[in-house]
Symmetry: none
């Protein structure tokens, strides 16, 4: 049985690997987890001991297959609880992360499976992130960053490349929500900034930085 702390380290390593890094550095983990590097070195040794992490001194770490499955099961719980909080308790999608950080550590496979059924087996969480199934498989969908979108095409906002409170609040203010439909109007060749139309008809302008972080799904 892993501690909540061990589970948080596994999730952190998973995130780096999911973002394409095949080896994660001690310092990067320390930063993400808000602890000192020395603490990370300690924990990586313990996780390596347990067979969840491949650790090579001073070189970097990665998840073993078992570590990967463990991480996915925690992420599954995190995202299912987020769906619960938004769909059933009426929380906003920007207020559920900290709660899910606690709920994801509740240990019970049967609870997770019953929650999944209660929620109607959702594939994506309120942020548009895929929910692994109980074998750890992620649902697929064809997505791209808004910055690479085609003029005239309609899209649905699918996922966010950043979930900082600042970014979430910015989107909220602009009327951009996960699941909302937009149309690509034009893109400025000079700075890559984009102009889009919301479903309401409102036209807004987004910087390339924002357009890079908005992951969209092509509509038919």
């Amino acid at each position: 049985m892993n501690s909540a702390s061990e589970e948080n380290y596994l999730k952190a390593i998973y995130k780096f690997m999911y973002d394409g890094n095949e080896l994660v550095g001690t310092g990067a983990l320390a930063e993400m987890l808000g602890v000192q590097s020395a603490s990370v070195t300690d924990m990586l040794r313990r996780l390596s001991e347990k067979g969840l992490v491949r650790y090579t001194k001073s070189r970097g770490s990665s998840l073993t297959e078992e570590g990967m499955q463990t991480a996915l099961s925690i992420i599954r719980k995190h995202r299912l609880w987020e769906v619960f909080l938004v769909e059933k308790l009426g929380f906003g999608w920007d207020e559920v992360h900290q709660l899910a950080e606690q709920l994801e550590h509740v240990k019970s496979d049967i609870l997770t499976e019953r929650l999944d059924i209660f929620l109607g087996n959702p594939s994506f969480d309120p942020h548009g992130d895929p929910i692994p199934d109980k074998e750890g498989k992620l649902p697929q969908k064809q997505t791209l960053p808004l910055i690479a979108a085609t003029i005239g095409q309609r899209y649905k906002i699918s996922r966010l490349g950043d979930t900082s409170t600042e970014f979430l609040q910015y989107l909220d203010k602009s009327g951009l929500l996960i699941g909302s439909f937009i149309q690509m109007i034009q893109q400025e060749p000079f700075d890559q900034s984009v102009t889009i139309e919301l479903q309401s008809g409102k036209i807004i302008h987004l910087s390339s930085q924002v357009a890079e972080l908005l992951v969209v799904e092509k509509m038919e």
Copy 2:
């Protein structure tokens, strides 16, 4: 912010006090919590330090007002989660305790309040135990003198209208104790005397004078 372990100690002390003990012994707590007495002594010191427990070396402990409120808020969460697990996820009432033991430690007042609303502000959990409101007040349990009880209904003996030695000895002899479960079998219209069945299956007859002094609590 209290740790899960501290919260479990507070709940344990609360339970003893709720059962009428005004001072709880170290050993009794150790037994209930499944730890050694030495560990309890340590923790009682820490909780006393924090102002949650009144601790007198070798004499016993009790909750302070703040400790009492804290305990009640954990019990509130525990029982609300139990309702959720049974009513919404379809668990049996006998399988939810261990899960609620984990869920009760999730820290968020707003989550508790939204859960409460989602569940329809229940007053009792699936085991018939009262759910404290957010000020820590317990719903009034519905009690009545046995003489006014309904035929066929099950009751728990809740309180005595007389505590004279004679009465206590009479009850003891009859096998009637506070907290014991009984079922109302019949009532004689002529003299109001009642016939009840004990949990043991034994049938006994009580005069109206006695039935007036036995305060019972309706079971589900």
